[in-house]
Symmetry: C2
Subunit: 323 residues, 2 copies
């Protein structure tokens, strides 16, 4: 049995790109391990470098194929790459999900690529807590780029892409629901559109539909922003158009740095994260005081009509904050 | 223009059964008015008497017809009755929703009945905050029974019935989704089943299906509970079987009082409510400190890698609790 490694050991090894330590740290933040805070503290000084690129879009659009060829291109340029596939609809985590992600096997023996899938349904604190920490692990492990791919569908994909520096929305021709899905708030968050499977009939129509919808939504753009989300056509299965995608990702990164938008997004993101963790910690502390009768005692007084629930809540805040 | 009434005036008038004051107080708790806490404090000593009867079930099963005939029977017995129709899927509140609830018009001129519909979608603090307070208003207004009817569908109906002392689940024959809907956690919360529209073909089959499912789920029952949810057949549109329903409601109330289950439920409910309000207040205080740079400052340090988000959250809890 291997000796228990200290958190700082693990972080040092992860910084040197040791896959096993990277995997171990992600597991620790994902499980909400007792050492979660220690891990977070040890990671903090080594983060802030990676560009997080979110990929989202309706099922069947070719997200995982696109992710895989993007990994290939970034690797050819000498970048260290992380892949985090997040499935907010599944309760199952770990490597299993990737079993059928055949193309990812191409990179299985490449030590410059870290691939991890995470399921966040039913997760304590949900995306709010685990995903940003997993991104920090990959960041500290020296990844230049982290591809954050959403698996599955739903409103929560917006939550996922909110964690990205650059968000790619993938569409494909002939998917009636492609643009539909895009309507649901996804258009506004896209920094780059990829129309994949562009050798299929209707690709140009999809591009035109998209242009039209973007023109309608122009007033929704972030104020003062001069970035207009470009549309790139690809055939990911033939790696066609992927260089263009990478060029646009880099163009967006440069614009983000130049315009100050990168700092603004990271600031907003950190604020949301701290807020989510704060609420989660208050919830946890309430759970603790339950055992010590603080909450049951207050509830008893509310039931008896001695105090109202708002007064009880104010007392409870004092109790949980004094610990 | 009428003079501004003090909260204690309003509560006194509501206690005397003045409909306008009852309506005004519900609006105040629903809007999350600035005086919400004052209202809650003024109500507290006058609550704890009403029996809250929750009615839920799939759409089309006859919930509002059943509610209306229940009101009639309770009124005939001299009880003061409140009706709160909660639609968790709608953002529109107030009297409008009840416009088409034709049967309710029967009671429109009866001063012993208070009818109110509430929409809770997108509501600040949601059900957690507004609905229990509205129930307290009706309780303080001297209602012996408050019928809490869910409108619309979804998981949140469970949240609604969790506020009831007695929960009635309505089903109807020939609705394929009736029992299906019942599967989704609703069976466990039912204190009483009503198979409405029992003159339709398949009513006996529905009762048998229900009995079968209840026998399967027997091990899910609350421990130590000797209450077995009875099944009553009704034709609400002809007021048939309603006396049986009322008898079972009263039987359940007596059992609740005798067994101590009523106190246990009220205690649990108060605990959940205090917890929800606590989290909401922490959220609100975080919003306040944002303006004072506490949160942005912490976020800046997280972005810079000086501290981790958990440390930042701990500092934030201290900041918000010291105010």
């Amino acid at each position: 049995m291997p000796r228990q490694q200290s958190v700082s050991d693990l972080v040092s090894r992860a910084q040197n790109g040791e896959p096993r330590s990277v995997a171990r740290l992600i597991s620790m933040v994902e499980d909400g391990s007792a050492q979660l805070r220690e891990v977070a503290a040890a990671l903090a000084p080594h983060t802030g470098r990676a560009q997080v690129v979110g990929l989202t879009g309706p099922p069947g659009v070719g997200k995982s194929t696109t992710t895989s060829v993007l990994v290939k291109v970034f690797r050819e340029r000498g970048s260290r790459v992380g892949v985090l596939a997040v499935d907010p609809s599944s309760p199952f985590s770990g490597g299993a999900l990737l079993g059928d992600r055949v193309r990812m096997q191409d990179h299985a023996t490449d030590s410059g690529v870290f691939i991890r899938s995470m399921a966040t349904r039913g997760h304590l604190g949900g995306l709010a807590s685990a995903t940003p920490q997993a991104l920090r692990v990959l960041d500290a492990a020296g990844c230049d780029v982290v591809l954050l791919e959403t698996v599955g569908v739903g409103q929560s994909e917006i939550e996922v892409v909110a964690l990205a520096d650059t968000t790619i929305v993938l569409l494909a021709p002939g998917m009636g629901d492609g643009i539909q899905a895009a309507k649901a708030g996804i258009l506004e968050v896209a920094d780059l559109f990829v129309v994949n499977k562009s050798d299929r009939e209707g690709a140009d129509q999809t591009v035109r539909d998209l242009r039209y919808m973007l023109s309608l939504g122009e007033h929704h753009k972030r104020d003062g922003s001069v970035w207009r989300a470009p549309i790139v056509k690809t055939i990911a299965s033939k790696a066609s158009g992927i260089d263009d995608v990478v060029a646009k990702i880099e163009e967006h990164r440069d614009w983000m740095n130049r315009s100050g938008e990168r700092e603004r997004r990271r600031q907003r993101r950190a604020e949301s994260e701290i807020e989510a963790i704060t609420l989660e910690q208050v919830r946890a502390r309430i759970g603790d005081v339950r055992g010590e009768d603080a909450l049951p005692e207050l509830a008893k007084r509310v039931v008896a009509g001695e105090i109202d629930p708002f007064t009880a809540a104010a007392e409870l805040i004092n109790t949980v904050s004094s610990r």
